[in-house]
C-alpha cells in the first residue's frame, strides 16, 4: 500500500527543505511545513498553494523547544516525516566556546532525534521517517568533528530506530546527501562530481521512499569515497589534513 498521508517537513525553509516541499507538492499529498521564519514560511506556503494546488499547513516552530503540543495537534498524523534540521556552525568557534558547540550538538542530534522519536511513537504502520544525516558522520575529521560527531550520533540513532520500527511496519530512511549547493556551503568550493543540487536530494528522497530504502547516499559515488575514508588506518588518518 502506498503512503498517501500528509508529509511533514521539519526545516521546510532550508534549501533542501524547499526543494522537497515543491517535489512533494506535485504528488498531491498534503504538506505540513515546520520552520522558524514566519514571513518566509507564509510566502513559501502561498507559492505551493498557487503553483501546485497543494494543501499546505504551515507551523512556525523551533525544534530546540518543546514539540509535544504541536505533535498532539496534528490530525491525521503525517504518513511521512522528514527531518532536515542541522547546523554546521563554525568549527573554531565551537572548539573555543562550549555554548556554541552545545548548540551544534543539540541542533544536529538531541533535538531532531527526540522529535523523530516522538513522531515514531505516534506513527501508524505504513509510515515513513526520513532523517537527513551526513557523510560527515561517517568518520570524525579534525576540521569538523562537532558537526560530524553529532551527525554520527544521529546516524546511529536512525539505525536503531529503524530496527525498532521495522516490527511495527514503519520504514526509517537515513539520507547522506554529501555536498549540496546550499547556503550551508555558501562560499565553499566543492568538487562538481560530488556536489548535488537541492532538487537532486529531493528527487532521491522521493525515490527512496517509494523503494523503502534503508540508507542512501544521494550521489552513489559518496559510498565509495566514504568507504575509502573509513578504511584509512587511524594512525595515518590523524595526520591527514581533512
Amino acid at each position: 500500500m502506498s503512503n498517501t498521508g500528509p508529509v511533514l517537513i521539519l526545516g521546510a525553509l532550508s534549501d533542501i527543505g524547499v526543494a522537497i516541499g515543491r517535489a512533494y507538492a506535485g504528488t498531491g499529498r498534503k504538506l505540513i511545513l515546520l520552520a522558524r521564519d514566519a514571513e518566509k514560511l507564509q510566502r513559501e506556503s502561498e507559492h505551493l498553494r498557487l503553483k501546485y494546488n497543494a494543501a499546505v499547513e504551515p507551523h512556525v516552530f523551533d525544534v530546540l523547544y518543546s514539540h509535544s503540543e504541536l505533535l498532539a495537534r496534528l490530525d491525521p498524523f503525517p504518513g511521512t516525516v522528514i527531518s532536515l534540521v542541522g547546523l554546521m556552525g563554525d568549527h573554531e568557534t565551537s572548539a573555543a566556546d562550549e555554548m556554541a558547540a552545545d548548540l551544534v550538538f543539540r541542533s544536529n542530534f538531541n533535538a531532531p532525534a527526540l522529535f523523530l522519536q516522538a513522531c515514531a511513537n505516534r506513527m501508524a504502520a505504513g509510515g515513513v521517517i526520513v532523517g537527513i544525516s551526513s557523510v560527515a558522520g561517517d568518520r570524525g575529521r579534525a576540521s569538523n568533528y562537532f558537526y560530524g560527531s553529532a551527525k554520527a550520533g544521529f546516524t546511529a540513532f536512525l539505525s536503531g530506530l529503524r530496527g525498532r520500527m521495522a516490527a511495527r511496519g514503519v520504514q526509517v530512511i537515513t539520507v547522506k546527501p554529501g555536498f549540496v549547493k546550499t547556503r550551508m556551503l555558501a562560499g565553499m568550493k566543492t568538487p562538481a562530481a560530488l556536489t548535488a543540487a537541492p532538487e537532486e536530494v529531493a528527487a532521491a528522497i522521493l525515490k527512496a521512499e517509494a523503494k523503502l530504502n534503508d540508507v542512501i547516499y544521494v550521489r552513489p559515488i559518496w559510498g565509495l569515497v566514504m568507504a575509502i575514508i573509513k578504511a584509512i588506518p587511524e594512525g595515518r588518518f590523524k595526520k591527514l589534513k581533512l
Binding site: D15, R43, E44, H47, L50, R183, A186
Partner: protein, 422 residues
C-alpha cells in the same frame, strides 16, 4: 571569474547571494557598488561588475495569480522556464517571451525584452502593471506605470535598484501548441517581402544565411486551438568547451546549408518549447564557441532607412568572409515606453560570432553603419560598443536624470554602465 552568456568579458567581482529584501539591503549597504544579476543570460557585461553582483535566487515565489483578470505577480528571481508549465496548465502564456526560457522575470523587465510578436505586442514592459523595488537608500517601493521610476526601471538594466517583484498581464491560450508556417526564400528581397507581409501573423521571425545573398526561411506562428499541453523538455548538455577551430567558414557554411535544405516550406504543429526556445534544448550551447567566448551583434534599423542599412550590414559581414551561425531578422513594431528600450519600428538583425579581434574590428564597422542609419544596439547583448553608439537612444538623458534622483551615489553600477557612460 564571472561572465555573461557570451563568456566575454570576464569580471572579477564577487557574487553576493541574498535570501530576501532584508538581506539584500545589508549587502547593498556593505558594498560601495553592485549590480543586480538574474541568471546571467545577458550576453555581454550588463550583469557584471568588478566589485559585486547581487543575486536573489530564492526570490522565486508566485505571489498572486488572478485567472479572471489574467494577471500574475511573481518575485523577480522566478525563472521563466519554471513558470511556463504552471501557466500552460491553466490556459495562459506570457505576453512576450525572449528566445530563451532560462531567464528571470526580473531580468526580462530590466532588459525590457522583446519576442517574435514585437510587431503586434511590443516589449515585455508594455504588459507589466506593477513593480516592487529595493532602492539605493534601502527603502522598498511599489510602483505602477504612472511613476517616473517605472519606465526608467523597465529597460534600465538594473541601474535604478533591485527589482523584487513583477506584476504582469497574461495571454490566454488554449494549450501549448503553435501552428508554425515556414516559407523558404531565395534572396534578401524575398525574405524582406515575406517578412513584411507577415505583420498580420502573431509571431514572425526570419533566419537568413549570411553567406548567401540573404536567402532564408521565414517562420510565422499562431497559438493553435488544440488544448494539448506538451511535456516540459529536459535539456541535453554540451559537455565541454569546443576547440576554437570548430567554427570556421567551412563549418558555418555547411551548417547554414543544412538548415536551409532541411527546412521545409509548409505548416506544422510544434510545441512552445520548440517554437520559442529551440536552443534551450542544448544546455550551455554557448560552449560551442569555446573558451574565447561569443559576441552577439544585435541592432535595430528604423523603417525609413532600414533596407539599405540592412544591405550594407550584410555586405560588410560577407566581405569579412566569416559567416555567422545564427542570423535572425525580425520586424519591430511601435517603440515601448522604457527609457532605454531597444526596439523601434523597423528591422532588428542579430548575429552570433566568436569573440576574436577580427570580429571586434568588424563590429566597429557595423556600428558605423548602424548609427549612420539611425539604428540602436541592444544593451542586453552588447559587450564592446563605445558611448557614441548610444546616439539614437533619444531618452538617455531622461533616464540619467531619473537615475540621479534615485541613486545619486551610483550604488548600482555595471561594467556595461561604466563602459557606455550610462
Amino acid at each position: 571569474m564571472i561572465s555573461g552568456w557570451g563568456h566575454y568579458p570576464l569580471a572579477e567581482g564577487i557574487l553576493l547571494d541574498a535570501d530576501d529584501a532584508r538581506s539584500a539591503i545589508e549587502q547593498i549597504i556593505a558594498t560601495p557598488s553592485l549590480i543586480p544579476r538574474g541568471l546571467g543570460r545577458a550576453y555581454g557585461d550588463a550583469a557584471l561588475s568588478n566589485l559585486a553582483m547581487l543575486a536573489l535566487p530564492r526570490a522565486d515565489h508566485i505571489l498572486s495569480f488572478d485567472p479572471t483578470a489574467a494577471e500574475i505577480e511573481v518575485e523577480a528571481g522566478t525563472i521563466l522556464a519554471d513558470l511556463l508549465p504552471f501557466l500552460l496548465a491553466r490556459g495562459f502564456f506570457v505576453p512576450v517571451t525572449p528566445g530563451t526560457a532560462q531567464v528571470t522575470i526580473g531580468g526580462m523587465a530590466a532588459s525590457d525584452v522583446h519576442g517574435k510578436n514585437h510587431h503586434g505586442s511590443g516589449t515585455f514592459g508594455r504588459h507589466i502593471t506593477a513593480l516592487t523595488m529595493l532602492l539605493a537608500d534601502g527603502s522598498q517601493i511599489r510602483i505602477t506605470p504612472d511613476h517616473e521610476l517605472f519606465w526608467a526601471t523597465i529597460s534600465g538594466m538594473g541601474l535604478t535598484g533591485v527589482i523584487l517583484a513583477v506584476r504582469f498581464r497574461l495571454l490566454r491560450v488554449a494549450g501549448g501548441m503553435i501552428r508554425q508556417t515556414a516559407t523558404k526564400t531565395r534572396d534578401l528581397d524575398e525574405t524582406l517581402a515575406i517578412s513584411e507581409s507577415s505583420r498580420s501573423a502573431t509571431y514572425s521571425v526570419a533566419w537568413i544565411d549570411c553567406l548567401s545573398a540573404g536567402r532564408g526561411v521565414v517562420f510565422q506562428g499562431e497559438h493553435a486551438p488544440e488544448a494539448e499541453i506538451p511535456p516540459t523538455p529536459r535539456p541535453r548538455a554540451v559537455p565541454f568547451d569546443m576547440p576554437s577551430f570548430t567554427l570556421n567558414r567551412l563549418t558555418i557554411g555547411a551548417f547554414n546549408q543544412a538548415i536551409y535544405h532541411t527546412a521545409r516550406s509548409g505548416s506544422a504543429l510544434v510545441d512552445v518549447w520548440r517554437f520559442f526556445y529551440p536552443l534551450d534544448s542544448l544546455h550551455d550551447w554557448n560552449r560551442i564557441y569555446g573558451k574565447r567566448g561569443l559576441v552577439q551583434y544585435q541592432c535595430v534599423l528604423p523603417h525609413e532607412s532600414g533596407e539599405p542599412g540592412l544591405r550594407q550590414l550584410l555586405a560588410e559581414i560577407a566581405r569579412q568572409g566569416l559567416g555567422s551561425f545564427l542570423v535572425v531578422l525580425k520586424l519591430c513594431g511601435e517603440e515601448g515606453q522604457g527609457l532605454l528600450s531597444f526596439p523601434r519600428p523597423g528591422f532588428s538583425l542579430a548575429l552570433d560570432f566568436p569573440a576574436t579581434p577580427e570580429i571586434f574590428a568588424l563590429f566597429e564597422r557595423l556600428d558605423a553603419i548602424t548609427i549612420d542609419h539611425g539604428g540602436r544596439l541592444y544593451l542586453a547583448k552588447d559587450a564592446r560598443a563605445k558611448p557614441a553608439s548610444l546616439r539614437h537612444y533619444q531618452r538617455l538623458d531622461q533616464f540619467r536624470a531619473v537615475r540621479e534622483r534615485y541613486d545619486p551615489q551610483h550604488r548600482f553600477v555595471s561594467l556595461l554602465s561604466q563602459r557606455l557612460g550610462l
